[in-house]
Amino acid sequence: MLTRRHFVQGSAAATAFAALPGTRVASAAPAALPAHVPPRDFAGALDAMRAIVGRGWVFADELSLLGYHDHFAMKPPEAHAASAAVAPRTVEEIQRILEVARDHGIPVWTISTGRNLGYGGAAPRMAGTLVLDLKRMNRIVEVNEKHAYAVVEPGVSYKDLYAHLQRIGSKLWIDCAAPGWGGVVGNLLDRGVGYTPMGEHFLLQQCGMQVVLSDGTVVDTGLGGQSGTAALHAYRYGHGPWVDGLFTQSNFGVVTRLGVQLMPEPPGYRPYMVTFPDEDAIEPLTEAIRPLKLAQIIPNAATSTELLWEAAVEVRKDQYFDGDGPTPDSARRKIKADLGVGEWNFYGALYGSPETMDATWPIIRDALGAIKGARFFMAEDKKGRPSFEYRARLMRGVPNMTEFGTVAWIPNAGHVGFGPVVPVDGALALAQYRKVRQLTNAAGFDYFGEFIVGWRDMHHIFMPAFTLGDPAEGARLLRLVEALVDDAARDGYGVYRTHLDLMDKVAGSYGWNEGALAKFNGRLKAAIDPAGILAPGKSGIWPAARGQSHE
């Protein structure tokens, strides 16, 4: 086994790596033991888990645990260091692992594919937590062509599901997040979004969960509560309270299987792009989009993307500007000219028969064409341009990694997500863009943002790139995103999803009526997970026994 130390000391390749600008050697945080668990007890618990899953599927050595760090961490790795990781293969193994965890008071953080980069990756919120890695649970249990759904386990990535559907000749489309290595289950449970007409994942796709509670009880939600039910993955509510939402962005259970409704391949598909040269165009653009989305004339989760996001999937910052700080206007003008993109770039698609698409296109063209400087592009106009082609793939559910170029913008970079939600309102979009960009540029970073219009709301996805391994820069970015959360709360914008480092702050921003919502979540936590072992701190929800101080 090649260790990091051996590599650094002995490999010629290490020298080549180390010579790269901004390179850091990955630093492993020492494994942190769970608080209040004596080392001997913890070692015994790991032995018990090895007996359950096999010796090779419990990871406690420094090198293996590197994969359970937040690779894009703003804080030093110690802040979110896992104590160990265990990778079960079955529900029964999960039940037995949780029994061991309960017996020893070991906190457990569940990951599916572990690719939630920008929000914490595979790392736990609280140092010393054991990671329950469900990547090995990667079975596609069922594909139902007639009723257009699949049933998957948490380890299935978008790429896995897409490849499987291709292999069996399915005519069903998936809807994927931009990085194709993401997990179908994990993204949906974090309430992520995609780009097809099924882009609101939880709203439009989720249909039937299987969940293991911390006491080992297995619950099937919705119609799954009835044995042998015929419409389990066609009707999501069943009878009585609909509990599925409790298992999203939460720490109330371990989701082990999910029904995912899919989109039948339409008879036709025409992606398009509309560019706008002015920064202020986001206001009239958003106003034009709203009625088209409400009426479903634009059926897909459509995006209005800012200039540098467009640029970063094709070029690097140093090709236009090699100084410090935000990209200056002179460089931005050259990028626009070179790449043929705008300050804002709208992506949408038509789906259906040629007659249907021919009928709706003039409505869209006339609405967006009324905005100053609008230029329209179809696929044949943008052949070979990655910024268009990866969007065209995403809007028909073809996973790819092109958007990861946003961290290729500068050397040795990561990024972090900040996602406030606003109604589809032009004035709000412009105000939010201006404020976030101004604060971001003042902090020395480039603004990377887009507005995704799922249906009746916009997710403002802001993902600034920063230099990894530079503690000062990481701390500066953390201060920025903390300020953005505070600022959004003051302006009445809720954040829809957040990074490990911001979970308490974002939860605190939902503080109406003396924090009634957080208190309700706490009561649910105490009732559903009385041992308090599942994912302490997820979404700012902590077990009562840990109080409100968790670091």
Partner: protein, 117 residues
């Protein structure tokens, strides 16, 4: 990792059923170990292939020059480097866990990448 476990990891996805009906209707084929090329195509190609739209290639072109940007065409790439980068991560690329790429798979991947040129 034990050999039995490695065998179970042989395919990234095991499909238990397919197509019609809402009950499993088609058993999976027996798991087969992915070849080095299949592993590269599954895990690496989207970022590291030649041409635009591949973020790893885009970044490496800036860091190491166009001649060293495409991993499969790079001079001096050795198996140790591949193994190191996969397990430790490298700059923007995060590490890959053994639950994603097993040690045995990593060996096959490294051999393929080194000998591909």
């Amino acid at each position: 990792m034990n050999e039995g476990a490695a065998t179970l990891m042989a395919l990234a996805v095991i499909a238990l059923s397919a197509c019609s009906g809402n009950v499993p209707s088609q058993s999976a084929k027996a798991p087969r170990a992915m070849t080095g090329k299949e592993l590269y195509d599954h895990w690496c190609a989207d970022c590291h292939d030649a041409g635009p739209g591949h973020p790893g290639t885009l970044r490496l072109a800036g860091d190491m020059g166009e001649d060293n940007a495409v991993l499969l065409k790079r001079n001096g790439l050795d198996a140790e480097t591949v193994r190191y980068a996969v397990r430790n991560g490298f700059q923007m690329m995060p590490p890959f866990r053994q639950t994603e790429i097993s040690d045995e798979e990593l060996d096959r991947l490294a051999v393929y990448m080194v000998n591909r040129k």
